[in-house]
């Protein structure tokens, strides 16, 4: 398939749902993608299986605190310049680009980078959602090294990285993002076609477009959106989808700490006959609790949507007084392995609990 103008709206909408609060608002990246496709034509999407084992691929996207992207707007040339800086750094050209995370604006940045170069984007991503840290990417979990990599900031400064471990890489690139105003574009995790096939969460780009279409065509109350969403997720790599809460946001506070948006939101049920739901945020919605009871936890997806229209809401746009619904969706099988949970279990985020799969929470 090709990504054309007509796909961008659904892709952006679907990707905000999969972003679980993080990933940055795709609105501006979408405007940039529209311009890129207008200028360079539709972008080829290829399945991982269509890639030769020895092809050379790099993942590209933005790293930082989503709140920052509300003000520090990306430039049209950021994605292409990042890719060019990477190729210059490694001294070779890439055959295709991949996505860090299908969640939010990072679903579109690889498309923009590919458009200018006539490259293909891979149908898939490194998370199946959005997650805050590099070592949480499926590429990293499967053993792909993050470096050599480059980061490109809003003023055109380029930094290159060569680190000993993905955790150290995350610390370094995060501190660079902070120093550069909270948001940078990075090209990282260069890999062969073989490595990509073994580590990517497949099909998420086309799935995100389908999800956006479902949200658009059924636009309406979250309670009525549940059935079409369940039909879509049950038949996908995700599985279970639940509506876990409806109510009004009575408190929300996040701060930019260490290059992440960190904080909490509290939602009170409409009829007030239930305990309020507390959602912990680190860029993404990571943990949902009613009082002490965990109702959903990372790596499963927690998604907050507008109650009346089911439009997913990014954490940086969540505000006091909004009427919302909270969905939870099971994560892809990849993230349920012991190896993956070492990188993404609730404990990795400082919560004192182990992962319990959504379908096991009664």
């Amino acid at each position: 398939m090709k990504i054309e103008q007509k796909h961008l709206e659904d892709l952006a909408l679907g990707s905000v749902f999969l972003a679980t609060g993080g990933g940055g608002d795709p609105y501006v990246p979408r405007l940039i993608a529209e311009q890129a496709i207008k200028q360079f034509g539709a972008v080829e999407v290829i399945q991982p299986s269509e890639l030769g084992d020895d092809a050379y691929v790099v993942a590209i996207g933005a790293v930082g605190a989503p709140t920052v992207s509300l003000e520090l707007l990306p430039s049209v040339e950021d994605a292409a310049n990042t890719l060019a800086a990477f190729e210059k750094h490694v001294g070779r050209t890439v055959d295709a680009v991949a996505s860090f995370e299908i969640g939010g604006g990072n679903s579109l940045i690889p498309i923009v980078a590919a458009a200018g170069r006539g490259l293909a984007v891979i149908d898939g991503d490194g998370m199946g959602r959005a997650l805050p840290e590099a070592q949480m990417m499926s590429y990293a979990i499967a053993g792909v090294k993050p470096t050599p990599s480059v980061a490109y900031d809003y003023a055109g400064n380029v930094a290159t990285f060569s680190t000993n471990s993905t955790e150290v890489y995350e610390r370094h690139i995060r501190s660079l993002a902070m120093a550069a105003g909270g948001m940078i574009t990075a090209a990282e995790h260069p890999m062969t076609g073989r490595q990509l096939k073994d580590s990517i969460i497949p099909g998420t780009l086309s799935f995100s477009i389908k999800l956006g279409q479902t949200l658009r065509e059924n636009r309406g109350l979250a309670t009525e959106m549940l059935a079409p969403l369940q039909a879509l997720f049950n038949d996908s790599i995700y599985g279970e989808c639940r509506l876990i809460f409806t109510g009004k946001v009575i408190d929300k506070a996040t701060r930019i700490v260490g290059g992440y948006d960190i904080g909490e939101a509290t939602i009170e049920s409409f009829d007030n006959n239930d305990l309020p739901l507390t959602v912990s945020i680190k860029n993404e919605y990571l943990l949902a609790r009613k009082g002490e009871k965990v109702v959903a936890t990372v790596p499963d997806l927690i998604v907050i949507v507008d109650y009346e229209t089911s439009t997913p809401i990014n954490a940086e746009r969540l505000r006091y007084g909004q009427r919302v619904a909270v969905f939870a969706v099971g994560c892809p099988q990849f993230y349920r392995s012991e190896k993956a949970l070492k990188a993404v279990s609730p404990r990795c985020f400082g919560f004192d609990l182990d992962y319990v799969a959504l379908e096991d929470i009664k």
Partner: protein
């Protein structure tokens, strides 16, 4: 005694209220000069009620003049949009995603300058004096006087906006300037859009507010005058000269609040049928349900908090297809009185269908005698199913709800509505907007920079909320009706790790108006 006036595109409505009672009401046509429409309406209600001018304590005006100007692309002044934030956002100029016809109507120009701040207080880029001089020279050449300025992170640090504004004022002393940080909150594109829309309305706002005040003076009303804003609270009339965009959603807000006042129904669907559109909104606990998503005004994304309204192209002037299967969105609008068949015109409108079916007696019904019963039946069916389908979209959940019909076009609904548990057509429904304006509420806002190190967050929010409440009470709100409608926190990391700017807005019912309310309201909205 209060007077409520609603100045719409087609009609100017006015009411005199004593507490919750409507003593007199009228509906007049909005005049081209706005003034005579208001004075005519005032004459009627003052005569009908026998109330003398000096018994009137306040006049509250709701107006859709500014929203209509944006939607209809008229009365818009030439604008220059200045964005301070390069090198970020390069190639993403202001108004990039605006409808082309609106951009053309604004005859807009834009400038992108280096400067602004980062979230942590670092300079994003140095201001370039040469860039500013070039821009000012270009402005002098084009003669643009209305300027909107938006800078990255201006809600945290507005200095660059102020600095560039000062430079422009030095060169163009009569410039009218809107700074984006006065439209609050993070989200540069939406904040900038709000500032640009506001700026293009400034000359028109001067004209409209002067007309309002002139009309009242002409009729010897010298009491305080307020204009209602998006959330149903009041602004002093003079404040609107600088911030006309704050009135954008006051129309639907007033009609919803008016519908609540007239029926006492706290939870209901309100359908306000005018000449061109039907606005469908939802009352929740007596207040308009707000939209959670980014609101577009005239096709432009903004950051205003507004009622959740679904507008459909169905009104008293909507054009009906010959077979009755299609209605709207085109309407003859205020030309109804010349273009509709019953008034001797050549266009089949919904009003003609109503007359032909015997549902109303306006104009000359012999002029619609030739319309086939089949067309009449079909057109009525089309009209009712349009409303049904759209009410269904706005209804919270599958349960049916009471529907309140207001507005001049409410008479078009002659049958039941499947989506409604029952239909209410309150007395004075035609002037619900004016009633909504007359019962407008008092807002109070407070803002404070706090450090959570010295003051725990919950305490800090309590404190700022208390200040906001005090301001609302000082401005005339009844203390026991106050509720918090917004809490906004903007961390300001460059002051100290835990510095935060907290802004709280509360709203309450009007209790009594102390004499100095006017200044107070001015303060509480600034």
């Amino acid at each position: 005694m209060r007077i409520g006036i609603d100045v719409g595109g087609t009609h100017t409505d006015a009411v005199i209220m004593q507490g919750d009672n409507v003593l007199a009401s009228t509906k007049a046509l909005t005049s081209a000069d706005v003034i005579s429409g208001i004075t005519n309406a005032l004459d009627v209600i003052l005569n009908d009620s026998g109330i003398s001018q000096n018994e009137i304590e306040t006049v509250m005006i709701g107006t859709t003049q500014f929203t209509n100007a944006i939607i209809e692309r008229r009365e818009l002044a030439q604008v220059a949009a200045v964005r301070i934030g390069l090198p970020s956002g390069n190639g993403m100029p202001p108004m990039l995603d605006w409808p082309q016809d609106l951009k053309d109507a604004l005859d807009s120009e834009y400038y992108m300058l280096h400067g602004g701040y980062l979230y942590d207080g670092w300079s994003l880029a140095d201001i370039d004096q040469q860039e500013i001089s070039n821009m000012i020279n270009s402005m002098l050449k084009s003669g643009v006087k209305n300027i909107a300025i938006a800078s990255a992170f201006s809600p945290i640090n507005s200095a660059p906006e102020e600095q560039v504004a000062n430079e422009i004022r030095k060169a163009i002393p009569d410039a009218k300037i809107t700074l984006s940080h006065s439209f609050g909150r993070l989200g540069l594109m939406e904040r900038e859009n709000a500032a640009i829309l506001n700026t293009t309305l400034l000359p028109f706002a001067d004209k409209v507010v002067s007309s309002f005040l002139g009309a009242l003076k002409k009729r010897d009303l010298h009491c305080p005058v307020y204009i209602s804003q998006n959330d149903g609270t009041l602004m002093s009339a003079d404040f609107v000269r600088s911030y006309p965009a704050l009135t954008f959603a006051s129309g639907p807000t007033n009609s919803l609040r008016g519908a609540y006042k007239l029926t006492g129904l706290k939870d209901a669907i309100v359908v306000d049928i005018g000449g061109t559109t039907s606005d469908i909104g939802v009352l929740q606990n007596g207040f308009p349900r707000e939209s959670n998503v980014i609101i577009k005004v005239g096709g432009v994304r903004t950051n205003f908090r507004m009622p959740d309204i679904l507008a459909i192209g169905l009104g008293g002037g909507s054009i009906v297809s010959d077979d009755g299967t299609a209605i709207g969105p085109h309407s003859v609008g205020h030309k109804l009185v010349t273009e509709a068949l019953v008034f001797g015109g050549n266009t089949l409108t919904t009003s003609d269908i109503l007359v032909a079916s015997g549902g109303a007696n306006i104009g000359d019904k012999t002029k619609v005698a030739h319309i086939s019963p089949q067309t009449i039946r079909q057109a009525k069916k089309t009209l009712h199913s349009m409303l049904d389908n759209n009410i269904d979209m706005m209804k919270p959940g599958g349960k049916s709800m009471p529907v309140i019909l207001v507005g001049g076009g409410a008479i078009l609904v002659t049958e039941g509505l499947e989506a409604a548990s029952d239909i209410h057509r309150p007395e004075h429904a035609g002037v619900a907007n004016a009633i909504g304006a007359a019962i407008a509420q008092i807002g109070g806002e407070a803002e404070q920079m706090v450090s959570y190190r010295t003051l725990p967050r919950e305490e800090a929010i309590k404190q700022v909320t208390k200040d906001a409440m005090q301001r609302a009470i000082d401005a005339g709100a009844a203390a026991d009706t106050l509720r918090t409608v917004d809490i906004e926190e903007t961390p300001v990391p460059y002051m100290d790790e835990s510095s935060t700017c907290i802004r709280v807005k509360v709203i309450g019912e009007l209790a009594a108006l102390p004499t100095n309310t006017s200044e107070r309201i001015q303060e509480s909205t600034l």
